[in-house]
Assembly symmetry: C2
Homo-oligomer: 296 residues x 2
């Protein structure tokens, strides 16, 4: 786990440096917009998704520079989704990663626009020749990210999540579907996008997608557990919100112990998917434990 944490931190630093160079400078009359984009995308964060992309890519021999740019695009999409999720009309949250959210640190209109611009940057990064010399590969990456981020992926999941809050009741099937879309789609893209870069076969792709699917669900289940058990200080974001909002979650349906049990079983399953890669998959295996044990 120690080596894992070192690698995680190293990956986060590399992505932050690369993103810093890719995002617009905060100068000129539109400095406020660029500054808000940078505040959101370059601030503290574990950068788990980029780490997964880098590790999955190494496993199948993908080129580092391409992986780094894909990681930056993923982080832009992730950051934009957090900005919009935190808006008063959505989750209405003042705190994110221990700092004021973008609409608090700037203003609501700038938050909407900074999110919009970060989404555009993600596709701009993928489309540029620096990502991959082959235009066909670039257009595949764009298409997959657009699907993962859109109405049938992340944004659709966010909408479902909101309706779960409004309805207050849902079965485990709907919650699973919601979270597969909301957090799962982008995590799945992180792990499976590298396959587009290489000649890795269908088997590797299926294995990585299965792994990503399970990991995404674990991530969300642990999120629900932390929201129920953690403190705001520990989390760096407001705790206890799900129950106050009367929201259907894995915890509200399965109970804390049931949710923990589900996460543990998914963790075993996620690791099984990696079996074909042998020892090489050690980092991704540890990522499962990390996500399972995280306290924030």
């Amino acid at each position: 786990m120690k080596q894992f944490l070192t690698e995680l931190e190293e990956a986060a630093d590399r992505v932050t440096v690369a993103l810093d160079a890719l995002l617009p400078r905060a100068d000129g009359p539109e400095a406020r917009l660029a500054s808000a984009m940078r505040y959101a995308a370059l601030g503290p964060g574990k950068r788990v998704r980029p780490f997964l992309a880098l590790q999955a890519g190494r496993l199948i021999g993908a080129e580092e520079r391409a992986l780094l740019r894909i990681s930056c695009a993923i982080e832009c999409i992730h950051s934009y989704s957090l900005i919009h999720d935190d808006l008063p009309c959505m989750d209405d949250d003042d705190l994110r990663r221990g700092r004021p959210t973008v609409h608090i640190a700037y203003d609501e209109a700038t938050a909407v626009l900074a999110g919009d611009a970060l989404q555009a940057v993600a596709f701009e990064i993928l489309a540029e020749p620096d990502t991959h010399p082959n235009g066909y590969v670039r257009s595949l990456l764009v298409g997959e990210l657009a699907r993962a981020a859109g109405a049938r992926g992340m944004v659709g999941g966010q909408a479902l999540d909101m309706y779960l809050t409004e309805e207050g009741s849902a079965d485990i099937g709907l919650i699973t579907r919601t979270q597969r879309m909301k957090t799962g789609a982008l995590i799945a893209f992180s792990v499976s996008a590298p396959v587009i870069l290489t000649e890795a076969g269908k088997e590797a792709r299926t294995a990585l997608e299965g792994f990503a699917h399970d990991l995404g669900l674990i991530y969300q289940i642990v999120d629900d557990i932390l929201d129920a058990e953690g403190s705001t200080e520990e989390l760096g974001k407001t705790a206890g919100k799900d129950e106050r909002q009367g929201k259907a979650t894995f915890v509200s349906i399965l109970g804390i112990e049931g949710a923990r049990d589900r996460a543990r079983r998914l963790a075993a399953q996620a690791k099984e998917h990696l079996a074909m890669f042998g020892r090489e998959a050690h980092m991704l295996e540890t990522a499962v434990d990390y996500v399972l044990q995280r306290r924030a």
Copy 2:
């Protein structure tokens, strides 16, 4: 002008039919999101940008199917920007194209998400092989649209526009820059993207870009004049807002007559850019008159 209006309407219909097939169906638990996307993108609208793309493309012999898909992508970006512009934290508008805006017809959170998902769909459409058999061409289209729509284009212009409202004072240079980004960038993409599809030379591209630049400015100047002179009923959106918000516009700086004069001179210049295409450019020339004379 009569033939022009017929062609404009025909283009609008074709784009609406194509978009209807490309947007997610409004069924399943996330129906509300898809329904809001459709409400915004398939509702009434003149579809001027798609018309420009189709006409510019014909001028240089671009393939119709590719033009139609590019038009759909443009309309998705345009629709998403209108949804977000209308939000309470932005322009706070209840009325658009004579109908309740998305956050009124649905709710604010759905409006944010429908805009986000429409942006993703735009890039998904461009990235798919149906747009063009060559992946390199597709990735070029994605990159150009992302730049036109992002922080240095449409979204950046929208941010500047907001700061113009807050400051209440600005010189004509800043207003021109703002509008070049806010409305100009997407209009420029509409006219110049077809060049990517063909072997048309640098000269044709420069001519079309010059034309698009002038047309974009005319569009915005006329918008400012209509806001100052038109009625809410005529416009299908709230009139007189610029003055009430103390916003710096072409009209507040140049006066109504000065703004009209500026638009007329830009119209002559726009037509000059088309000279190299001869009679073939008749429809685009008429588009200039149409934009200059529009009452809504």
